[in-house]
């Protein structure tokens, strides 16, 4: 029972809005929760910034598929958001049930980044859905799956990394480690995690100074990022803005 008590201290939260919800992100969150045998909380954020903009008299929506513009308003946008929220909730519950984990779902209004960063400060992992890359991103066998790990002293990175390596085990994997101290336990952990399973993993180590350049040029090239919740808020906001992939905020 003591062990269970410890296990229940961990929680996984998945936060997404209408533009960042995807089944892939839900799967990642479920996988993460399942690996820790913990509960999963889904959080759909009705982005008030977006509602404000759609309330403006001249606002048009441009279709991602057809490139055509069409008028929109708050009411229509809310309907659209609630439709996405329903899909989110249904997918979350179905996937969680399939993996036999408990889950809950909440619908809140606010600014996505504020709520995403501030809600459930005690959650071990908060996964933020991010607007996916523009256009269709090639996902051939030959393209490696890229994981960005921005190092810090967070203790729970190993579990997140383990889940991601397992998730991409059929692909080549590129792990980019930023700001890793020499002799860091993270590198040793990585070597241990990949030993013997035949995975083709390459490791790139960069100093913290090169992070802005990396995000500017390659921010949209990652498949997932592991970032510490303990980063400074401004830094964290910049990182999140530069990335187009799900981000796992680690406590």
């Amino acid at each position: 029972m003591k062990t269970d008590g410890k296990r229940n201290q961990h929680t996984v939260v998945l936060a997404a809005d209408a533009g960042s919800y995807s089944i892939t992100t839900v799967n990642l969150a479920v996988q993460m929760a399942a690996s820790m045998k913990t509960r999963l909380r889904g959080l759909f954020i009705e982005d008030e910034d977006l509602l404000q903009v759609t309330g403006l008299p001249f606002t048009r929506e441009i279709s991602l598929v057809t490139a055509r513009e069409r008028p929109t308003d708050v009411e229509r946008m809310q309907l659209s958001m609630r439709s996405v929220a329903r899909q989110f909730e249904q997918t979350l519950k179905r996937e969680a049930a399939a993996s036999r984990i408990a889950c809950s779902f909440d619908y809140v209004r606010g600014r996505f980044r504020d709520i995403g960063l501030k809600t459930d400060q005690n959650a071990t992992y908060t996964i933020l859905g991010q607007p996916v890359s523009h256009g269709v991103r090639p996902r051939s066998e030959t393209v490696p799956r890229r994981i960005l790990v921005i190092a810090n002293r967070s203790r729970n990175k190993r579990r997140a990394l383990e889940v991601l390596l397992n998730r991409y085990r059929h692909h080549r994997i590129e792990v980019t480690l930023v700001d890793v101290e020499p002799g860091s336990k993270l590198v040793a952990d990585l070597e241990q995690l990949t030993r013997g399973d035949g995975a083709e993993i390459s490791l790139i180590e960069l100093s913290g100074e090169r992070l802005p350049e990396l995000l500017s040029n390659w921010g949209s090239g990652f498949d997932c990022a592991i970032v510490s919740r303990h980063e400074k808020p401004d830094e964290l906001a910049k990182i999140l803005k530069s990335l187009n992939c799900p981000v796992i905020l680690v406590a």
Binding site: V53, T54, L56, P57, I62, A67, E69, M81, R137, P138
Partner: protein, 810 residues
Amino acid sequence: MTDRKIKALNARALYQTCDLKQFDFKTTADLEPLDRPLGQERALEAIEFGVDIEQHGFNLFVVGDPGFGKNELVRQILSRQAQADDSRWDWCYVNNFDQPQQPRLLKLPAGMGQKLRLDMESLVEDLLTSLPSSFQSEEYRNRRHEIEQELQDRQEQAFRKLDHEAEAQGIVIMRTPSGYTMGPVVDGHPLDPQEYAKLSSDAKNRVEEIIAELQRRLQEIVRDMPLVQREHHQRIKALNQEITQHTVEQLIAWVENAYRDQTEVMEYLKKVKANAIKDVDAFLPSEQSGEADNIASRVAGFYAYGINVVVDNTDTTGAPIVFEDNPTYQNLIGRIEYLSQMGTLVTNFMLIKPGALHRANGGYLILDAHKLLTHGFAWEGLKRALKAGEIRTQSLEQMLSLANTVSLEPESIPLRVKVILTGESRLYYLLRGLDREFTQLFKVSADFARSAKRDRNSVRDYARLIAAVQRDRDIRPLERASVGRVIEEASRLAGDTGKLSLHLGEMLDLLSEADYWAGKARRKTIRLQDVERAIEKQDYRQDRYRELMQEQVLRGIKMIDTDGERVGQVNALSVLQTGGYSFGQASRITATARLGRGGIVDIEREARLGGEIHSKGVMILSSYLAEQYAANQPLPLAASLAFEQSYGMVDGDSASAAELCVLLSALGEIPLKQSLAITGSINQLGEIQAIGGVNEKIEGFFDICEKRGLIGGQGVIIPAANRAHLMLHKNVRNAVTAGKFHIYPVERVTQAMQLLSGLKPGARDGRGQYPKQSFNFRIQQRIEKLQRMQRQFMQRGARDENAAGKGERE
């Protein structure tokens, strides 16, 4: 017309024994086997000619009944001819990569078809292993990665640039559930409608202009996305083809080297190369089935690169000789099979199955004409192929335009084949008469003789033929007397003392059964008694129906008299056949005669139980009667003839002599001896002509007489011309020797009447009258009586008419 006594035949005339003195061997083991067909010189020459000549349409029809060794002889000749001909080819169907519905044809030297098939299987296996390796190479990965990254970056940068420009102008681009939208931002926060309303008109205009411009550019970026995707796809495809081409060319080079002098194969390999490069994805493992050990099963799925060897001459020597025992349309022309997939019938070039014509191409095809003609469309299909000189594999549905499903149209195979049809003469003449194309396509006929002349040479050859069969079938050697008996039986089967039956099947059966009985008696050779026993048992096994018929007579159910005399009644003879067994039986024919003008009524004909030939016989006897007895006066006769207790068809004219005799008996009221039976046909001149089955007929009547007890005067009257056909059973011969049974050969009906009535025919005197003791006198008297009666009737009639006329006038 003579009155001399008619002599019965002596026993020697009833059977042509085989002179054993002409044989200088003890058993057939001492004889050199006959190495050529006996008595079939004409057929042999025709077959050799037909097989050798190479002109179009000189196919062969071998005419003859079953059992005469047609197929065996044809095979022997073909085997010799085929050895000299080494122009064998393999024929293969391959995929037509441009038009899959029209498979291509490859003609290859013998044995090369299978080699190419195996080479292509190896090639596919190599492609399946080598291509994925090429695509997993570092070089390929890097180049593909570069392309993908470049295009991805181009898209991202376009958005990013627009995003930065928007931000610089105080505008935020936001994602909606289905696209993008834009709005003004102040201090990092989008303006709400109230804040926006507070802006000056100029500020609002400026914001809207900026947003309109940004939206236009965003639309351009979104519109470009499919083009970027297309470019991505094309560049990846080009890269894949470059990598594939290199690998495919390397792998296919060794196949090309092996077939460098085969133009058709080289053309095909060129297409294979192009298609493999184009269709490279098929060779790459999918995520689900990427295991290397799955290669073997995957090879089977690549049928498009397979070789369908429809004719494989790998292990054959000489020209092919094919005997198709079941010549259906499909078995001759080949067929296209279908597979059921998801409820739909599909096919491909690998499902083209060859027919006998494919296998026999370049050689010889032997077919049974009867089987060929009884299978729907097989004859038409064969003719079409022979006329066109090519095999076009087409289903019956296609040929008859009944099929609506998509099927194949395989390239036609050039046909060079000699077809040998075997069949009965009836079929041959039917085809000649009814099918114009037949004579154009089958210009040579080889007619197998049913019998050979029996002379000293042929008898010796027949003995050697027996020796050949004995060795070939590995049966015991036959002793000299046994050989003689088999030869005598051959004459009996031929139905002619001067002939030998060439029915090898029957001879073989007899030898096999004699061997069986010799074995039962633990003898090392076949003796005379073994042959006799075999013949006896053969007859016995088939004799049940004859016995039943005979029993009916002996019990008096079927009425046949064998002694005494009767007016208007005679014993005729006929032959019945049950399967291959024939036997004779006696039939009673009766006649009545009276005054009238109706001529002769054939009751069988009136009852529609008489055949045309039988009717002809009755008409002939009517003519004879009129000419003989009433040449210058009317014949006021009404007579009728009937086969008593006959309930089936009566045909043939072999009873016409009996019918004439019984008619004369009825007319002249002359009793006929019932101890005699008569067979023979007559002509208008009263001559008796030969008939068939004379041995069976005599034996049929003899058996009844013997069962009732031979009384001395019994016998059979036969046409004199049938003396040459007598090969009677031993018991008949013994009875004749003992004077208890007699065979009378006659040439004229008057002789038959003399025997039957015991009266001489007599000759007309100067007044045209016959002697009083002759049967002709009695007939003449009766006819004159009838004529007088007729005149009296006519005179009375005239008086009655006159009296009636006078009365009317008065």
